[in-house]
């Protein structure tokens, strides 16, 4: 399971990268492998104001639906419409082409984990 070193992680298996007051999120390699073949992704509307832990969209595989949650307080700046027609990119490139949402944020979740912490978290979960 890939856990890149340059990202933060959440307990709901999302990754976050912070750049100034901008944050980008997606779901982790572990999350995509648990879900299986992803067939649909739903995004929040651009401009939506969000808080930490708000359910902002869903990722749907052939067997399950999973919500994903905002890791920040802020507004939705951009969503990855490029993967609407190719949601399986979440399976093949969860940390790259298949980012989900970009935010302009004022505050981030205080529960974000480092890559090492996330790796331990995965071990504990198993």
């Amino acid at each position: 399971m890939k856990v890149p070193k340059n990202l933060f992680y959440t307990k709901d298996h999302e990754w976050v990268i912070i750049d100034g007051n901008l944050a980008t999120m997606g779901i982790t390699d572990h999350a995509q492998s648990q879900l299986g073949d992803i067939v649909f992704v739903e995004f929040p509307e651009e401009g939506t104001e969000v808080g930490v832990g708000d359910s902002i969209g869903v990722v749907e595989s052939t067997k399950a639906v999973s919500d994903y949650y905002s890791p920040v307080v802020g507004t939705v700046k951009e969503v990855n419409n490029d993967i609407t027609d190719e949601p399986d990119k979440i399976n093949s490139d969860p940390y790259g082409a298949a980012w989900l949402v970009k935010f302009k944020f004022t505050e981030k979740s205080d529960e974000l984990m480092s890559p090492e912490e996330y790796e331990n978290y995965l071990k504990e979960e198993n």
């Binding site: 649909f40 399950a64 639906v65 919500d67």
Partner: protein, 435 residues
């Protein structure tokens, strides 16, 4: 799936295995005052005796010959080919319960798939569900489709004053907990589209009116980001009228009783929602899809199940987890027997019969109320309540069911292909005598 009641041995065994002696002990947590000891119920009747009781009760019904029924208002009598009953009553269809497992239910699943295909073709839409409880609840669910599609932001619903009143009542019941606001309009010019979620149109309307301005309504709705919903309660009208898809509607709701299902005391009815593809993931209820089995053969399965409660829990599109399989099946068989041309002919005949009766009543000097044109139902206005009631009574004496009394002085008269010319002439003659 057999229905197996517990024998007294079964009950004893179960009690023993949980370590208690009798049923009394099992229910001892229920306070005494809530227990009923002696119900005043007779000891029971033999099958023969029970059948006599029911026969006696049913003889109190006033049964009208279908050619002599002119009551519609949401339930319509059409000829049902006898093959519909013969095929429906096959035990594989008739006694199966929730037959959705693809391993054992290919026949039922295919029938539902064909049903969806027919509903899409009939309404000019991309996707259909497998049917729902009835037209009114399907209409309420269709508003929720729009609500979810628009991300639960807007709650105002434009409803025409000529919508079936019972449908409005069911919708209010269903949707008030969501905080929906109903705005009733008389004419399209009155409509304020600000913050409106959806506009509902019933065509033909409750009084049988056919609306020819619907393309401009859907165009306006689209411009104002309002979801347009088409409702047809008399679904045979689609044999004659432009489909809701062609008219530019987003969602279409049909009541399918009229397509091969008898009118009886309270049912059975069924509703169905069809829609443009973009509403797919917000549709409620079951959907059957086509796929390939392990051998690469064409096969049918429930699809898009991730909308449903067993996967999506409280975020499911609806709490509907089943369909009206048998009513939908009758509809498939009926439409297969009728064919496209058969349905067109049926609609034309109903239309022509209705217009014949309207002309004849008009010749008696009665005013017939409608807007531009009507399908198979129209309002007749009498000079007074007395006149109206006298006409209804006289018709009843000749075993003719006149229609639905509306206001003080009107009746809503429904005519289908089953109301033959001789019966209509008799109707007119009796009305003439009573005026």
């Amino acid at each position: 799936m057999p229905y197996t009641p517990h024998t007294s041995e079964d009950i004893k065994l179960m009690l023993k295995s949980i370590g208690i002696n009798d049923l009394e002990e099992l229910f001892k947590s229920i306070p005494k005052e809530f227990k009923i000891n002696n119900l005043n119920i007779a000891s029971g009747l033999s099958e023969h005796a029970a059948s006599n009781v029911v026969k006696k009760l049913s003889s109190k019904n006033k049964v009208y010959d279908s050619s002599k029924m002119f009551l519609g208002a949401g339930a319509y009598s059409h000829y049902i080919p006898s093959a519909v009953n013969h095929i429906t009553l096959r035990s594989e269809f008739y006694t199966a319960y929730t037959p959705y497992q693809p391993e054992v239910s290919q026949g039922t699943l295919q029938a539902i798939f064909e049903f969806q295909t027919m509903m899409c073709r009939l309404t000019g839409m991309d996707i259909s569900n497998a049917s729902m409880y009835d037209g009114a609840t399907a209409l309420a669910e269709s508003v929720l489709v729009a609500y979810k599609y628009k991300r639960e932001k807007k709650k105002k619903i434009l409803v025409p004053s000529n919508l079936h009143p019972e449908y409005l009542s069911v919708m209010k019941n269903y949707l008030n907990p969501f905080g929906m606001e109903f705005v009733v309009f008389n004419s399209y010019d009155d409509c304020n589209y600000d913050d409106v979620l959806t506009i509902i149109i019933q065509n033909p309307d409750f009084y049988g009116n056919i609306d020819s301005k619907l393309e401009s309504v859907t165009k306006k709705a689209r411009e104002r980001d309002v979801v347009s919903i088409y409702l047809a309660i008399e679904a045979t009208s689609l044999g004659l009228l432009k489909s809701p898809g062609e008219l530019g509607f987003d969602i279409s709701v049909l009541e399918i009783q009229t397509l091969g299902n008898p009118i009886a005391f309270g049912g059975p009815h069924a509703g169905v929602i069809t829609a443009k593809k973009e509403f797919m993931r917000n549709l409620p209820g079951r959907i059957v899809g086509e796929t390939k089995d392990a051998n690469g053969e064409r096969a049918f399965v429930l699809t898009l199940a991730t909308r449903e409660q067993h996967i999506r829990r409280e975020k499911a599109t609806s709490n509907i987890c089943s369909n009206q399989a048998l009513v939908a099946l009758r509809t498939v068989i009926y439409l297969t027997l009728m064919g496209e041309n058969g349905l067109k002919e049926l609609a034309k005949t109903s239309y022509n019969h209705a217009h014949y009766l309207k002309e004849k009543l008009n010749e008696l000097g009665l005013s017939i109320i409608y807007n531009e044109d009507f399908y198979n139902e129209f309002l007749v206005k009498f000079n007074s309540k007395e006149k109206r009631d006298k006409v209804c009574t006289k018709l009843k004496e000749s075993n003719i069911l006149s229609g639905l009394k509306i206001d003080e002085d009107k009746i809503l008269v429904a005519v289908t292909e089953l109301n033959t010319k001789d019966v209509m002439d008799k109707y007119v003659e009796i009305v003439k005598g009573a005026l």
